[in-house]
Amino acid sequence: MGREIAMAPLMQSSQPWVEKYRPKQVKDVAHQDEVVRVLTNTLETSNCPHMLFYGPPGTGKTTTALAIAHQLFGPELYKSRVLELNASDDRGINVVRTKIKNFAAVAVGSNRQGGYPCPPFKIIILDEADSMTQDAQNALRRTMETYSKVTRFFFICNYISRIIEPLASRCAKFRFKPLTEEIMGSRILHICKGEDLNLDSEALSTLSSISQGDMRRAITYLQSAARLFGSSISAKDLISVSGVIPNEVVQAIFSACRSGNFDLANKEVNNVVAEGYPVSQMLSQLYDIVVDADDISDEQKARICKKFAEADKSLVDGADEYLQLLNVASSAMQVLSNMPQDMAF
């Protein structure tokens, strides 16, 4: 009881590590050398074009835009000089136009303040810009022209193809690359130091590889594992918070398919479902095994992968996980043991 009463003062939320370890300076953004070079130059010359950052999630796009804005204006001027709009704000055409107009219309001076360059323009950051409609983007084109002397736009998106050509062509474009495992590793170690965590080398390489170049995922997994398992974190802990299925479990299904024994496969499928492993994840891990297998012919691989694709689509439609995985396992078994696959009856 005593503990419960002590709990009653409500918990406060602490800062997520994704925010805590966001680099504050452009030079600390890892692996995106080209954009870092251009922006470092900007800091000296106080000059910069409109920018378009694109690339997969968790590669530093938002971080870079925020960092340069802070470095150019410092904390005092930031609010009056930088406007951030992201997908969670209402971005109908009119809202965007009005907000930008109101923001850009107030004139700026160019006196250096507190050691910050403070160039004579404002920055408008449009994050997740690929979720804006074509109409809204078109409307933006005129706004950009109207205020071109006094504003710089930073567009951020995952897919450059979703940004209309007239906007894209007005910007310097930078592609953000997925982080390599080495670079992830060194960022992770940096965080581990800050949080007093202990990660052995197996855990470190596991974390780098399951995050697939997405630093946000790596940090989220790391923080989840630390919350659950304390300061000594193993590869197994990381796998368990990431939703990746342990290799033995995937291998067990695959060997059952090779065995040609339907009942055995059925048993393994039941086990996967009872353990609560997501079948969509199972399909993608099975896919990796099949594609890499040396002793399966290309034709067999193709036929199995076709089944994966069909099952994946059915799952998206909401089909039952057990039935879909059983069907995949049964088909793979038929292919692997060269049973006739056309329905016999």
Partner: protein
């Protein structure tokens, strides 16, 4: 009170299975750092129990004082206002609901409720603002749009409202939502763990429970703990003292499906199909979900079939269940599966025995 409710552990330190998860949850609470959570795992594995115990750990016994409300929500759906009626379960600290009950309106309801919760933030003795918890059941049944707008809401109101999501399958929860939560997988308990729970209940009830009998109930439960406890209670009513070879009654509907399986193995004809349709209807009107019927029917058929037919029959089960999801009338697809099975089986019999 049924044993499943009577013996549901109320606090994290009292759980019998998933002790490791419970300890982790205790750690989360004691570090004062509780993120959004997603619990996923099969039905009857113990998700709900852990969630309720967690709420109690965070808020103390007042989390148990819940009231059921049937409330009409006025939601702003673009140009018009719609009324959505929904049952919620709430204490001063949390609200629990099944958003999928709201059908197409699910997305508006979720946002509306979160906004309202954010407005009335509880304030503690030191004047600090706290947060409330919103428990959303069956998030796998939530529409894609609702899930999408959830992710925006999750960020915007994260200071005032924590979400606990509960789902039978994590495949059906979008990546965007999953990556904003700490994911907690709850696997179905193993048979030995189920036996432990049964022994615990037997002790509390002052019953003699023979080991073989407990193992037998656990095995029949298919790793579903709720089912095992329910069966145990039924057996207690039927015969006590227990014996090791006491019969464990199957559920009525399962018995019924098993008869359907025998029916269609015995005779493949339009007349038989017609009779089976009546039985399928009856199952549906008794609220047995159609995919559960189909899976059980497959289970019964697989027990009786030759191995070469198993592939084909399980293929068609997957096929028709998928169709059923896309369509609206479950009976059509169940019947189509039965007809398909009859046709396959008849050809097989002819080609084998002439």
């Amino acid at each position: 009170m049924l044993w499943v409710d009577k013996y549901r552990p109320k606090t994290l330190d009292k759980v019998i299975v998933h002790q490791d998860v419970a300890q982790n949850l205790q750690k989360l609470v004691s570090e004062g750092d509780c993120p959004h959570l997603l619990f996923y795992g099969p039905s009857g594995s113990g998700k709900k129990t852990l969630i309720m115990a967690l709420l109690r750990q965070i808020f103390g016994p007042s989390a148990d004082k819940v009231k059921v409300e049937n409330k009409i929500w006025k939601v702003d759906a673009g140009k018009r206002t719609i009324d959505v009626e929904l049952t919620t379960l709430s204490s001063t600290h949390h609200v629990e609901l099944n958003p999928s009950d709201a059908g197409f309106q699910d997305r508006y309801v979720v946002q509306e409720i979160i906004k309202e919760m954010a407005k009335n933030r509880p304030i503690d003795t030191k004047g600090k603002k706290g947060f409330k918890v919103l428990v959303l059941n069956e998030v796998d049944k939530l529409s894609r749009e609702a899930q999408h707008s959830l992710r925006r809401t999750m960020e915007k109101y994260s200071a005032s409202c924590r979400l606990i999501l509960c789902s039978n399958s994590s495949s059906k929860v979008t990546e965007a939502v999953r990556s904003r939560c700490l994911n907690v997988r709850i696997n179905a308990p193993m048979e030995e763990e189920i036996v432990n729970v049964l022994e615990f209940i037997a002790k509390k009830e002052g019953l003699q429970l023979p080991q073989g009998f407990a193992a037998c109930i656990a095995e029949k439960s298919n790793r579903n703990l709720r089912r095992a406890v329910l069966t145990f209670e039924t057996c207690r009513v039927q015969q006590y003292p227990f014996t090791n070879n006491q019969a464990i009654p199957p559920m009525d509907w399962e018995q019924y499906v098993s008869e359907i399986a025998s029916d269609i193995m015995k005779e493949q004809s339009p007349k038989r199909l017609f009779e089976v349709r009546g039985k399928l209807y009856e199952l549906l009107t008794n609220c047995i979900p159609p995919e559960i019927i189909l899976k059980r029917l497959l289970f019964e058929l697989l027990k009786k079939l030759d191995s070469e037919l198993k592939h084909e029959v399980s293929h068609w089960a997957a096929h028709y269940e998928h169709r059923m999801r896309l369509g609206q009338k479950a009976i059509f697809h169940l019947e189509a599966f039965v007809a398909k099975f009859m046709s396959i089986y008849k050809s097989f019999l002819i080609s084998t025995f002439g």
